[in-house]
Amino acid sequence: MATIDMPVREALNQAIDEEMERDDAVYIMGEEVAQYQGAYKVTKGLYQKYGERRVIDTPITEMGFTGLAVGSAYKDLKPIVEFMTFNFSMQAIDQIVNSAAKQYYMSAGDISCPIVFRGANGIAAGVAAQHSQCFAAWYSSVPGLKVLAPYSSEDAKGLLKAAIRDPNPVVFLEQELLYGTPFPMSDEAQGKDFVIPIGEAKIEKEGSDVTIVTFSRGVGLSLEAAEELTKKGINAEVINLRTIRPLDRDTILSSIKKTGRVVTVEDGWPQCGVGAEIAAMCMEDDGVFDSLDAPVQRICGADVPMPYALNLEEAAVPQINDIVEACEKATYRGK
């Protein structure tokens, strides 16, 4: 086998398929996941292969099917809950935050909750305030949850398989805008044993002048920004977090120690965001604090509900140029 290009959607599908084949306690449920094969076709072919007992179309009730899935995880099944988009997970957030995340602790280790909550998260195009927002910061503030955010097809497959095998509740944040994007899949990634460890960030591009810490769609933007920066003589290091909780402190902090400068990039809002957490980490670690040569720069979504009009939406969402400028500022090359 050689490296092939595969869209993220297909990589996700492969991950679910392989894990359902591997373990018959795994099942998937959500709105339109079975006969319609998923609103974004992530579950294509699974209903035909595994039947209605393991690929379940539910009534339109996030509270109901999420709660049912959580209860079935208490009883040793391994559900994958598909939220058509994570915006709708708000209707089930009590089940995720107050039950799934805390059950193992509250029961003193008696009852675990091996479950994956997955679906499209983050900004989308032209769908405005209620369908276009990032929940990474929300879920990553909750002890008991693990939060993953893949960027590429390899990320998507390897991390989703890890999430399904993990004995803890995992929130798996996909990005609608990337579903159709093809990424190279290595030989190894095409195999059934390809699992990416949770809690490890990936250095997508090595560099020496500034560290860009980002995840999901931000990785693509940052890599493009890094290319432009190269032309300007700035060698940026790009870190793809992959896991938002637990954060890979070692990779993040040692990179910042090396470069002395850091820019964070995310689509979510600034207050208490993932970038804010990275900034706090820099302040709290003596070694990193001492090595900083410039203030931390954060690129976030604008602090407004997402507007609909194209020009407004564009202005509310991080752009490549924003990242380039922030890196120039951090390296004192800017205007």
Partner: protein, 472 residues
């Protein structure tokens, strides 16, 4: 008085749902006649209660075949343990199934068709009585302990003991319980020890929950009793999931019947949450073998049911979900037991949910954070406590058979009091949970970040030992 029961006569056919044999599957299930004519229902003394206003009992027709429970609405009484199908429900109010009246009288089948004796053995009956007495004694002592500042919080079950023991005794420990918080007697019946209750309430080193949950948020995997979830109603969809998982497990093993039923308890107030609808609908559409067990005790903290719903209680909602349901007198231990046993058989044999609504009265305050005399009269509380006390009802039944008398009842209560006090004192002496357990069980394996935080904490405590007294 409303004579709503007579309107049920056209629904006689609906009662053929369950066969007599279906109620005998559980070893502890009690037997009842399956079809009693509704036209000749109880001539027992029906004591009229009210939640918002008190009725003059002397003005009430005690031979009535209806009675007021929660909501100040007269409800028809029936001795027929029919679980109504969604497509064949009563045209009027849902009748209240009961076999034992306020005086503990069960009509012998030879004296009339409406009642038969539940054929309880003395040993089993006394065990039931003792468990109800133990629950009641524990509640009183723990409430006092809270008032004395020895525990921070408590929730009692006074007035609902028969709901707990009646239902728990129709189940076995393979059946899975998702409780709200006022089902302590169910856990007690399953074998949770007095020490385990006390240790949990004191949050000490002996607490199975490692000091993580508020008092009365018990849980025991060994007894298939899920840890209590404080937010109301979250347990309902989860219970449907448990039932679904057990059904799936059976199917995977080539069986068409789950090993046990899931029973999910909740209150009349919890039924107003959105999760209630979500759970009913998903359990029905996914054919989950589950009993949704509503304890209608008249109040959600201070809110009377009159402000909680406009329909006919909770049982009537089942029709909308295509679900079978039955309403039961919650102070009648036998009726609760019989309905639960039948519901279990129906749920397991046909893989579908059943809704039970028990009508009772919360004699105690909502919790130790509540003073219920601010929204209901002490007279009303006392009336229920003295005139329709579920423990007294059952005690009278036992006394009639010579199984209990004043002396044995006192002995039982004294013995239980000693047990509770001993457990309380012993719990109080046990130290608190170790500090180093605080970071356990957040995840299956401690994350590097948790290890870092734990190390920092322990380092800090080691540095200032004089500031920290607990075990590390």
């Amino acid at each position: 008085m409303l004579r709503a029961a007579s309107r049920l006569s056209s629904h006689r056919a609906a009662r053929a749902i369950l066969t007599e044999s279906s109620s005998t599957s559980s070893a502890s299930a009690l037997l009842f006649s399956k079809s009693a004519p509704l036209t000749s229902t109880s001539s027992s003394t029906a004591v009229i209660r009210s939640f918002s206003t008190l009725h003059d009992i002397s003005a009430v027709d005690i031979t009535s075949d209806s009675r007021i429970y929660a909501g100040d609405v007269p409800l028809p009484l029936t001795t027929d343990c029919t679980i109504f199908e969604a497509d064949d429900v009563p045209t009027g109010k849902y009748p209240v199934f009961r076999v034992m009246d306020e005086n503990g009288v069960i009509r012998d089948s030879s004296k009339g068709p409406e009642y038969i004796d539940p054929n309880l053995t003395e040993e089993h009956a006394v065990k039931m009585f003792r468990t109800m007495a133990r629950l009641n004694v524990m509640d009183n002592i723990f409430l006092n302990a809270q008032r004395q500042g020895r525990i921070s919080f408590y929730m009692s079950s006074q007035g609902e003991e028969a709901v707990h023991i009646g239902s728990a005794s129709a189940l076995d420990n393979k059946d899975v319980i998702f409780a709200q918080y006022r089902e302590t007697g169910v856990l007690m019946w399953r074998g949770f020890t007095m020490s385990q209750f006390a240790d949990q309430c004191f949050s000490n080193s002996g607490d199975l929950g490692k000091g993580r949950q508020m008092p009365v948020h018990y849980g025991s995997r060994a007894l298939n009793f899920h840890t209590i979830s404080s937010p109301l109603t979250t347990q309902l969809p989860q219970a449907a999931g448990s039932a679904y998982a057990m059904k799936m497990e059976a199917l995977r093993n080539g069986k068409d019947r789950a090993e046990g039923v899931t029973v999910c308890y909740f209150g009349d107030g919890a039924a107003s949450e959105g999760d209630f609808h979500a759970a009913m609908n998903i359990a029905a559409t996914m054919n989950c073998p589950i009993i949704f067990f509503c304890r209608n005790n008249g109040f959600a903290i201070s809110t009377p049911v009159a402000d909680q719903y406009r329909g006919d209680g909770i049982a009537s909602r089942a029709k909308g979900y295509g679900m079978a349901s039955i309403r039961v007198d919650g102070n009648d231990l036998f009726a609760v037991n019989a309905a639960t046993a039948r519901a279990k058989e129906l749920a397991l044999s046909e893989n579908r949910p059943v809704l039970i609504e028990t009508m009772s009265y919360r004699v105690g305050h909502h919790s130790t954070s509540d003073d219920s005399t601010r929204y209901r009269s002490t007279e009303e509380i006392k009336k229920w406590d003295t005139e329709d006390n579920p423990i007294d009802r059952f005690r009278r039944y036992c006394e009639t058979r010579g199984w209990l008398d004043e002396e044995t009842v006192q002995t039982i209560r004294d013995e239980e009091k000693i047990n509770v006090l001993q457990a309380l004192e012993s719990a109080e002496k046990k130290g608190p949970p170790e500090l180093s357990t605080m970071f356990d069980d957040v995840y299956k394996e401690k994350t590097p970040e948790l290890e870092r935080q734990e190390a920092k904490l322990l380092e800090h405590v080691a540095k200032y030992p004089e500031r920290y007294s607990g075990p590390i």
